[in-house]
Amino acid sequence: METIKSDYLDEKLTQVRDMDFLRYRSGDLPTWCPGCGYFGIMDAFYKSCRELELKSENICTVSGIGCSGRTPIFINSYGFHTLHGRSIPVASGLKLAREDLSVFAVAGDGDALGIGGGHLPHVARKNIDITFILFDNSIYGLTKGQSSSTTPYEMKTNSHPVGNPDGPLNPIRLALSYGASFVARGFAGDPGGMKDIIKQGTLHNGFSFIQILTPCVTFDKTNRTWKNLKENVYNLGLDPEENNMENAMRAAENEPFGVGIFFQDKNRLSYHDTLRHLNR
């Protein structure tokens, strides 16, 4: 029988303390495909909640429909799996009615930029204080591999067997154009980076837009694969404090694989604060 050394014990204790983030996990095991990038996003989410010491009962996670839509089931929070493309309006109403809650909205690329794309400009310009996480795998996962708004031009998919005729949208550029006051990108294979970003986004008083580059291992074998992502992703190194829209726009344009915070405007009033200001 081994004797346990005390420094080893300390290490274990630290680990267990860190593991405390598991209390943000629900009892349900994710039904995602083995290898799906979404597992990593979950982990980063749990950990950022842990570091912010959010109370589970004060967290609300709102999703649309898609593989990503299942997210709230796996979080120990008040969860609402709404309609395809509609996590933002529901989350907005919830936050405006209940300022005391931490409201997260998650959506797939189809969800957020396709069917729900009309809501993004408005939640951004209103600066409603929710944290929005875009699970961007550049494909429709749940319906089995059709082109989405971020599928590359000419890529063959189940809905475009001869190649996608549509140019992809650039979600970061969109968010910046809409006037989002916090814009960032993470990578599903970089839990630490994602955790920091989600944390910053949660702390940000206003609308936070977070794009996560993540692979769909089942329906995209060529484009946004683990391999391609791992080989290309790098740290942006922008200083969001600079608050420079032009830099951010340029980075959005030129750095498709740069992760980090593109832009943050800490001075803009959130929607709630604007209402207080106007009704003063």
């Binding site: 929070s77 008040y78 309006p89 989350a91 936050k95 009615a97 209940r98 809650l101 009309g118």
Partner: protein
Amino acid sequence: MKDIDLVIEICGSAGEGTISAGEILSRFMSGQGFEIMSFDSYPAEIRGFGKCVAHTRLSSNCIYSPGKLVDVLISLNDGHSISQLSTLKKGGILVYDSAPLKPHGEDKSVLGWAEPGTVTYGVPLTMLANRAAGNSRGRNMVALGAVVALFHMDGQSFTQSIQARYAKKKQVIIDANVNSFLEGFNWTKKHIEKTDSISFDGVIMPAGREKLIINGNQLVVRAALDANLKFYAGYPITPATKIMEILSKELPKNGGTLLQTEDEIAAIGAVIGAGFGGVRAMTATSGPGFALMTEFTGLSVMAEVPAVIINSQRGGPSTGIPTKTEQSDFNAAVLGGTGDCPRIVLAPIDTFSCYQATVLGLYLAEKYQTLVVILLDFFLSNSIRNIDIPVKPSQVFLDSNIAPTKAELENYQRYKVTPNGISPRAIPGTPGGIFFSTGLEHDEFGKPDYSDKGHLKMTQKRFDKHSFVLEEAPAPQISDFTGDMADIGVISWGSSAGAAQEAVMLARKDGIDAVSFSSMILSPFPEKALVAFADKCKKILVPELNYSGQFANFAVHIIKRPVERLNYITGRPMASEDILEKMRQM
């Protein structure tokens, strides 16, 4: 005491003060203790010289419908008034401008078009207005003066009404209006020889309670605020826009939040989000917006999240006729949407019940955790009545969420099947109450469940709630039977109900053995009551403002026998006169 029951219309061109003259008349009459019901028609375009009509019915008794035919038509504009003459009663009164600025061309004078037998009074409106204020703007006031003089109303009080109306304006404007009125009044007293029999002499109305002069939209807002509304999301659309515009001012004062969304989908989405957050929330819209909300209505029902939608109906389908009244969204409200999707639908039957329906709707949505659709229409939204100040709802109506007990929070089942179908609902923030909601079929915990038994159980639960809702809704208004059976039963809903009830009263006076049934709640429908009613009627008549007889078809599926129908889609409210006529033919 003499009874008064008069319908007066003022008809002019946009910009001639037609609507404000009507408003002053209504307010004055209300102040005198009469019941009033008035509405305006105006063109759909923002600008133009389209026809405006201010319609007012006033009565010393209860009134239930705006009155189809007109006793007195006041013409400010001959061109427009010619087409309005068709609504003037046989032997009715026409007041017109006897000395217009330019003499009328042939066939262009309203006088020339009046039926023989019409009592016509020519008053030099333009001339007198010019005399009073140096321009013709006061013609509407001159006309009012003439009418007040003709019918022996109280000129003194009327002057005060005019002053009150323009109280916030400059003195010169107040004076111009008052002087115009007096010119008309005095000229008429002096020059017109009265040949009609309408007179307010000796009509003394009891000093009534303080009245609220208000339209349906305004009353909805008042009710919502009284009923603890804390969140509103909406998108402008005729005839519901005003609800948002007023709330935008009032809701923050009441600690609530208003969100103007990018579209109606976001509006109902935000309402459902706020409802999920445990806050009373609603939106208001009309046909096109209601159509866009269809997908979300299913989510409210499936995920059992409270949501209230006011749908003020207008002419349809599609963009239709935005500024005319119709009752053609019955199917959409009661049967629309995909899947087996039980929802609550209320339709106020008159202005006053807009208040009740709103309070009840917010209460039921929260308690039964479901969708409530409240069907108004252009007429209810915009027509003005003087009503008793509504009694504020009692505490039970203000907070109707059934929260889980401590014991229930152990292994909490958000969608627990209970005898009345209501599962105690935890509000986000409640420790131990964490749950997951979805538009997928789910088990009692809320987790997706596609089993055949699960789907059946939950579908049943969603439908079962309905039987309990019915117990809390006001019972249908059923008039007294004179014997065991009546000859004709009139079944009505929404804004047509008043006309139907009035028609039944008139019919009885006429010796027709008629009875009336109208229910404010349309879904779940009080089927038993309707069947019992129909069983005691030899014939059934269903009057409604749509083409296909949407409610009539629905009623037939309940009572399982044929009905007579009265449908029109003229854009005007239902008229008791037409129902009576139809009954005579049956």
